[in-house]
């Protein structure tokens, strides 16, 4: 399904929930809507589904304007956060309901097939209330897949599940989506989830679409400060700096040699240096720039240590591989390769992003 949103605006009373969103979804691929709560993800999905009408703008499917068409007539499947199933029907009936509505033959076999794909074939005769959260969500997913709709919308479907269960289901979802030919739209607040799902990402912030593109691209080359902030976990370190001929001058006098695009080098204008937590290291490598700081906090999360340090550049968070026990208040030197620097202009636009490592 080729879904195109054309300047969608949604106003409710005096508030504007969506400001002029225009997007052409990549057909047959997964598009992740990434944004904080109340960024406009659910509003946008409801407009895509046909549950709501936009105040302005048009929605086009395969070239046909469907803006006024109610959701019943559009072929859409939707999965919600709250494990929504028909409580009075068994799991088998739940999954069969879209098939029966379409008058399909061979329903029982198709239901069994789908249940096996989602590993719930042993619960076919039970009622949703007897199942755990993860199992209920699988039933909802099976029902959505049974519909076979060209557009599948998932609104933070894993957010009410345990961490480990979320990991498992996410794996399965990526495999399920890879085989299908529906266009899938998946809303989430976690940048990590967007990266794991792959596909394309649309970053939303306060009702505006900031960037849309292949996920890896949006991550490595955010087009503005806001996108960089929204799409990083842990949050990106941001340092105010001045542009100089050789690169950047940071608070405390340190010079960072970077090649800014022409016209920004010599005016001493304000820029922002962006450093991902993983770009900072404890051990120096040739060509590194160092910053001294005091350890405020060291968090150990299994394989990595997150070091929060107070430095002349401000508070920095570094993600160091391996487990390191650091004393609070001790001195620490953090090193970074200037090639890893992101530079954003005074208006927030991206000026420089690190070159992506080549791979075959």
């Amino acid at each position: 399904m080729d879904l195109v949103l054309d300047s969608i605006v949604k106003r409710v009373g005096a508030q504007v929930w969506l400001h002029g969103i225009g997007m052409a979804l990549q057909p047959g691929a997964v598009t992740v809507l990434l944004g904080a709560t109340q960024a406009g993800k659910t509003s946008l999905m409801r407009i895509m589904a046909g549950l709501d009408e936009p105040t302005e703008g048009r929605v086009r499917v395969d070239g046909v304007d469907v803006t006024g068409m109610p959701v019943r007539e559009r072929n859409v499947a939707m999965v919600y956060q709250q494990f929504i199933n028909y409580p009075s029907l068994t799991v088998a009936d739940n999954i069969a309901s879209p098939l029966k509505l379409r008058g399909e033959k061979d329903v029982a076999r198709r239901v069994r097939e789908l249940a096996e794909r989602l590993h719930i074939e042993m619960f076919l005769q039970r009622y949703p209330s007897e199942l755990s959260g993860g199992q209920q969500q699988r039933v909802a997913l099976a029902r959505a897949l049974a519909k076979g709709a060209p557009l599948m919308l998932l609104d933070e479907p894993l957010v009410n599940l345990d961490y480990k269960l979320r990991e498992e289901l996410r794996e399965e979802l990526t495999q399920l989506f890879a085989t299908g030919d529906s266009t899938v739209v998946y809303a989430t607040t976690e940048p990590g989830e967007a990266l794991l799902l792959g596909g394309y990402t649309a970053v939303l912030h306060e009702g505006r679409l900031l960037q849309y593109g292949p996920t890896a691209e949006v991550f490595h080359a955010p087009n503005s400060l806001r996108v960089a902030r929204a799409f990083s976990d842990p949050p990106m370190n941001l340092v105010r700096a001045q542009a100089t001929l050789g690169g950047l001058r940071l608070p405390g006098g340190t010079e960072l040699p970077v090649a800014l695009p022409g016209g920004h080098g010599n005016d001493g204008g304000d820029v922002t240096l962006g450093l991902r937590a993983s770009a900072l290291r404890l051990h120096a490598r040739p060509g590194d720039v160092a910053v001294q700081g005091t350890v405020e906090l060291a968090e150990i999360s299994g394989s990595d240590t997150f070091v929060h340090a107070a430095t002349p550049w401000g508070e920095l968070v570094a993600q160091i591989t391996g487990v390191h026990y650091l004393e609070l208040g001790s001195s620490v030197a953090l090193h970074l390769d200037p090639a890893q620097a992101y530079v954003f202009g005074a208006d927030g636009a991206l000026l420089l992003a690190p070159a992506r490592p080549g791979r075959n």
């Binding site: 904080a36 709560t37 755990s132 959260g133 345990d162 961490y163 480990k164 269960l165 990991e167 607040t189 976690e190 940048p191 990590g192 990266l195 794991l196 792959g198 890896a216 991550f219 490595h220 902030r229 990083s232 976990d233 842990p234 949050p235 991902r276 937590a277 993983s278 405020e296 906090l297 968090e299 150990i300 999360s301 299994g302 394989s303 997150f306 929060h308 993600q319 591989t321 487990v323 609070l328 490592p357 080549g358 791979r359 075959n360």
Partner: protein, 356 residues
Amino acid sequence: MARITLDLAHSYRPNPQQDSDYALLPLSMVFDDGGAYALLGPSGCGKTTMLNIMSGLLVPSQGRVLFDERDVTRASPQERNIAQVFQFPVIYDTMTVAENLAFPLKNRKVPEARIRQRVGQIAEMLEMSGQLDQRAAGLSADAKQKISLGRGLVREDVAAVLFDEPLTVIDPHLKWQLRRKLKQIHHELKLTLIYVTHDQVEALTFADKVVVMTRGRAVQVGAPDELFERPRHAFVGHFIGSPGMNFLPAQVQDGVLAVAGQRMPLPRALPDGALRLGVRPEYLALAAPGQAGALPCAVARVQDLGTHQMLTATIDGETLKVRCAPEQVLPGEGGTVWLQVLGEHTCFYQNEELLA
């Protein structure tokens, strides 16, 4: 500040016969004064039950709870002097932030001047001094959780602060700030903090010691790095780490280790029979073809996860995940890759228990 000792079991049925009748299997545990602990496990493992027993909201069907040396098994939460922060923010809608924070002290008839001072102190610690006169009902979820937390901290003699998955409704980037705040508070006030969660990142970053639980049993108690490097139980290996440990079935016979159809020399003394080999994605490395202790696998997928790459490979019907550096060159899908599975971080499990 108190040292909490648990020596109990809990069942919701009157006459528990088997393990499955118990919500909490018999356990014996000590939480040191001033320590930060996390109870980590999937839903239904019993962690919230344990927390409610500690706070006094639930009385264990057998055994006792001691605070320092006092038996408080039947004592109410007030008598135990604990504070609890719940999953969703619990605040008094009709009051301002300051009134919310002052409420527990007012109920204990603390003098007005002392209340004001204490509220000011806690508000500053939580970075909410500017919002003291605002109505609590209109604030965001993370501010409300801070108020819930503040209500627990404002009492000076609080024995322990218990958290029941407090960051569930908070946005990811605010979670960072709140976690940091919790750690800072722990360092400043040196309170006993007990944190229940199913999110292992939260548990490992917050706690000095983590109690990993499953199905009513505390499977391992240890510092985060212990749980990571040497999980004593296969469940811990699977649950901790994102993604968790890779497991391969293995067979030991006559001094030879057979893993996924490949034979290797025994790395160390292991008993004969069926075993499971566990190695974390962080410790699997690419190896030269034919290297000792390496397995040939088919590449199923390569994902760019921003700060690292994740390689998914299959061998003999089993799946292995490998965490690689972003700049590492990896073969494409369908290619072959040799993975070094034997190393100093490889663990062997028999009947789910770690072999020394």
